[in-house]
Amino acid sequence: MSERAGLIRRVLLGVAAAILTVVMVMPLTSTETAQSWGLPLMTDKLWFRVATTVAMFVVLSSAWNIIGGMTGYAAFGNVAFFGVGAYSTAFLVANLHVPFAIALLAAPGVAALFAIAIGLPLLRLRGHYFAIATLGVSVAVAEVVNNVEPLGGSNGIFLPIVRSDLLFFYLMAATAILAVAVSWLVLRTRFGYGLLAIRENEEAAAVIGINTTFYKVSAFALAAALTGLAGGVFAQWNVFINAENVFPVDYNVQMILMAVLGGSGTALGPVIGAVTLEALIQAFASGGEFAVWSQVGLGILLATTVIFVPRGILDFFGGQSRLTVQYLRNSLRRTGV
């Protein structure tokens, strides 16, 4: 069984690596050099928009996974870090004329500091209380930003235009690879074991010597830094930001759904979830009048995933489970429905 699972996992990783390589090379066909060689153009505006968005959600769901999946704290307001990162970069670029490359570095820093500040009081809460409190913070921050004049108030901030689909795709993809690499690394270190212990039993974690406050706040700050970095890239990519486009509440739902769908607590689960779900969302969006139903669809998907596939779809590929009627029945029984 475990040998077979290992084989499946290796094949899966091989296929994923192949797809990733193709996706990473495809955009290069849009360069002038490639075109002058007469290579077929494999990407267009839409391709870049979708691919960069997918990469962005890989970052968001992987980052959420660190606090939500590994540490077990159901953060429901991580979009706050995305917005804080976006505003940090945008403010530096637009108002202080700092070069984008340097302004981008401020995004993870400010987001992490913000996470530490709110994490110290909020991470004392558990379960629903923590979820509601973080959701409240994300809504509150958006309101504050909307009313602070130096941040553009309700007019938002315009950044100097940088026209390069290629640059933003690779920048977001690099951020995504960083987020996945960080997750992979965390799960193999003492730090990661500490987070898992807190998720499984916080009291037991404390009495075997884990500084639970420090670990929780660090996980929250790490998640915030990655989320903030994605926000910083987004700000320059999108050129215009305001409270609406960098603090959308539905991002909170989406990043959680992606991680849970793919397999929360694992390094690759959020990636699989983000790619799968974003594909579904794009399909919904192109469905004309069906687009209205996409929110309903997402809600139903979240509910069914949590009930029937609590460990995510990654678990069927070289994990411990096989997709059978019995598996679904057991999952249903465990939720106590």
Binding site: T189, R190, Y193, G194, L196, E200, V207, I208, G209, I210
Partner: protein, 250 residues
């Protein structure tokens, strides 16, 4: 013998209820001390106070020359207090080996133990405690007695100076109790001081040199185990006044 753990005037209230009032006793280095008393006497509360799960309202707890009261639980653990829980608290998604390794990884002062080394040390502890063959299975497939052993293994992997055991024998068959007694004697033989809460009197008589009896949050009697168990006040606390009188006449 020298004092390893000293409790002086330990007091803990929950709202208006005094769970522990002015509890004072010493634990000698290398001994096995029994902490007994009827249900609700405050035994588990006392363990929670020592291990830092609860904060004291008054009093001091001293390990060697370090004061423990007011410190967070993780620091107390690293200073050398290992404990088990009455209702076991394993990390369910981890294997038996990983569970035990957590103690080695985090529960020691100073040098950090990396995961790989902690896993190796966990194997050694699990072998000692008779769980060696179960190292690779998930905790969820362990029996209750095995889970209790795992609690002890995880605490032992911390290399504690004092080990606090909260009813590790409850629910075990007589054979399993004998095995567990062996484990406790062995651990103690390596120089670990043990404080154990126990309702199974055979265990208390079997391994504890001394016993402290708690009753309604106060120390009722303390001393050599045999004498303590013969004390009329103890019999009365456990069995009620009428039985105690009958016992005296008989």
């Amino acid at each position: 013998m020298s004092t390893q753990l000293a409790l002086a005037g330990v007091t803990k209230n929950f709202g208006g209820v005094a769970a522990l009032s002015d509890v004072s006793f010493d634990v000698q280095a290398g001994e096995i001390l029994g902490l007994i008393g009827p249900n609700g006497a405050g035994k588990t509360t006392l363990l929670n106070c020592i291990s830092g799960v609860y904060r004291l309202d008054a009093g001091t707890i001293t390990l060697a020359d370090q004061e423990l009261q007011g410190r967070p639980a993780f620091q107390i653990a690293r200073l050398g207090i290992g404990r088990t829980f009455q209702v076991v608290k394993p990390f369910p998604s981890m294997t038996v080996r990983q569970n035990a390794a957590m103690g080695a990884m985090f529960g020691r002062e100073g040098k950090r133990t990396p995961p790989k080394q902690a896993m190796e040390e966990a194997d050694a502890v699990l072998a000692d405690i008779g769980l060696g063959k179960r190292a690779d299975v998930l905790v969820t497939s362990l029996t209750i007695p095995e889970r209790k052993r795992l609690e002890v293994a995880r605490a032992l992997a911390m290399r504690p100076i004092v080990l606090l055991l909260d009813e590790v024998m409850a629910g075990l068959t007589p054979n399993e109790v004998d095995e567990a007694l062996e484990v406790i004697r062995e651990v103690n033989g390596r120089g670990v001081t043990i404080v154990l809460i126990e309702h199974v009197m055979r265990v208390v008589v079997g391994v504890c040199q001394r016993a402290v009896v708690l009753h309604q949050g106060r120390v009722l009697v303390q001393g050599a185990t045999a004498e303590v168990l013969e004390d009329d006040r103890v019999i009365e606390a456990y069995l009620g006044e009428r039985y105690a009188k009958a016992h005296r006449r008989g």
